[in-house]
Symmetry: C2
Subunit: 295 residues, 2 copies
């Protein structure tokens, strides 16, 4: 009845590319160089995992398409800004991202700083312009702000920076990733669902459990790929974690146990979705994609 | 009847210090170092010009105190984040701010980057938690996001960076400052008024005219002080503009004409407030403060 996953995914990705372009200021607008660099940082790149999650979760409650594209654009702008800042010399100092020179290499460091800052503002501007009930739209802004800030993504990055060269326990590593990557993935799932209805406690708890499982799976697989794939396949510099002496799942658990953990987390994700029945099909398929991806 | 300006100002500043502390995550909360650095960047510093504007504009329509403190805290967090990022080596490379070492000197560059990013998220989180009508609160989020982003403050910084070493016309210089400093000052005025009522077109236009005048006055006086005061008085490095070969009002108009311009802008600000009568007293006094300040 419904389309195969890869067709659905390509359709969402194409609509998101258009939505991102629509929700960014035009690149001819003054200041032109800043807007060009914002386009460079956001457009034509990435698998759009977070917008895919927004759309997949929106399908649970038949959320309006335009509002899913809006929420997807907002969260992708937050994600893109975090990559631009993460890649800067004072952070990970990475020259390659999605197969292209990073923003501070293509432009300069000051521009990378401003691009990230402006993308964060733009994300909140986009989300606050939605057409849902104002109370619901405001709840979505709060969710995105919390997931982005010092108790979410930025907090995870701070813990990550502080942990370079340290021996983390598995629990500490999970805590760090729950903030650094997990918070935004969780926000994507909840934003999509909230665009369809006001969530009750059980729905929120089930989606939380799903988000925690795929968030950790995402990171475990990232660590596996960083240890096993090459830079050309990844579109970014491979082997950075070991070179930077960063704690990873592979360095703590070894490769085989990390692969087993990824499969366990995939089962956890599927189990969390049981209350939603067939409407959760896309969310299940994304959990599979996250565990099976090769880049 | 009402308190002298300096008492009113000290009262608002004291209440804002408490409000900022209340609206930041506690500095004992994990990640502790990030939260400590956020407190370092925001608390115990500055004249709180933007929160003063929020409160002064709130007085026009008897806005609730708690909502003015909330909006004031949000806009001050945006301002504080912009200072932290502006001071970084890839931007202005400044070691001193408000008489203290800048964040990247006191901590490190990566922490300065994260502090700024997290403060921006926190600002939107704080503003989106207000108790006004959801539609009004959402309009305030939109206003702050637009004032902060590539068509506001960040855009002004991009133009500023691109103009180092160039000969700007007076008009180009004004355009740059209207974005770089003016957008956030305008947002402060409008947020305060919006916390009291939904503004009609005439009210918005009058407040816009006031905000444009004080925004330019603020910058003209900044340039005058940079050229004439010493670092100890300013609490930041004086003479930077000339050293950095940045275009300023003083470099284009000369000192005497810049001082005359500041007085003209002060009169413009007063004239714009005429429709509001006595309720605009604090806004008038702030215009005076901006032009007469010595640091």
């Amino acid at each position: 009845m419904s389309a195969p996953f890869d067709l659905w995914m390509k359709d969402v990705q194409a609509r998101m590319e258009a939505a991102l372009l629509r929700h960014l200021p035009p690149d001819q607008q003054i200041p032109v160089r800043l807007h060009e660099a914002m386009h460079y940082a956001v457009l034509d790149g990435g698998k759009r995992v977070r917008p895919l999650l927004v759309h997949a979760a929106g399908a649970l409650f038949d959320a309006p398409q335009a509002e899913l594209e809006r929420a997807g654009a907002a969260i992708e702008m937050i994600h893109a800004y975090s990559l631009v800042h993460d890649d800067m010399p004072c952070m990970d100092d990475d020259a390659l991202r999605r197969g292209k020179p990073t923003v501070h290499v293509q432009y300069d460091e000051a521009m990378a700083l401003l691009v990230g800052d402006a993308l964060q503002s733009q994300a909140f501007d986009v989300l606050a312009h939605g057409d849902l009930l104002p109370a619901q739209q405001l709840a979505m802004v709060r969710l995105l702000a919390q997931a982005s800030g010092s108790l979410g993504m930025c907090g995870g990055q701070a813990i990550d920076l502080a942990s370079v060269g340290l021996t983390l326990s598995l629990q500490q590593l999970e805590q760090m990733h729950q903030l650094k990557t997990g918070a935004l993935l969780r926000a994507a799932v909840l934003l999509g669902a909230m665009a369809g209805k006001q969530l009750d406690e059980e729905e929120t708890a089930a989606l939380d459990a799903y988000a925690v499982a795929i968030g950790l799976a995402f990171q475990v697989v990232d660590d596996i790929l960083d240890a096993t794939a090459d830079s050309a396949t990844l579109g970014k510099t491979a082997g950075k974690d070991a070179a930077d002496n960063k704690p990873t799942y592979v360095s703590i658990l070894g490769l085989a146990q990390s692969q087993a953990l990824a499969q366990t987390l995939r089962s956890d994700a599927h189990r969390a979705l049981e209350p939603f029945g067939d409407k959760a099909r896309r969310l299940r398929e994304i959990a599979d994609l996250i565990v099976q991806r090769k880049a």
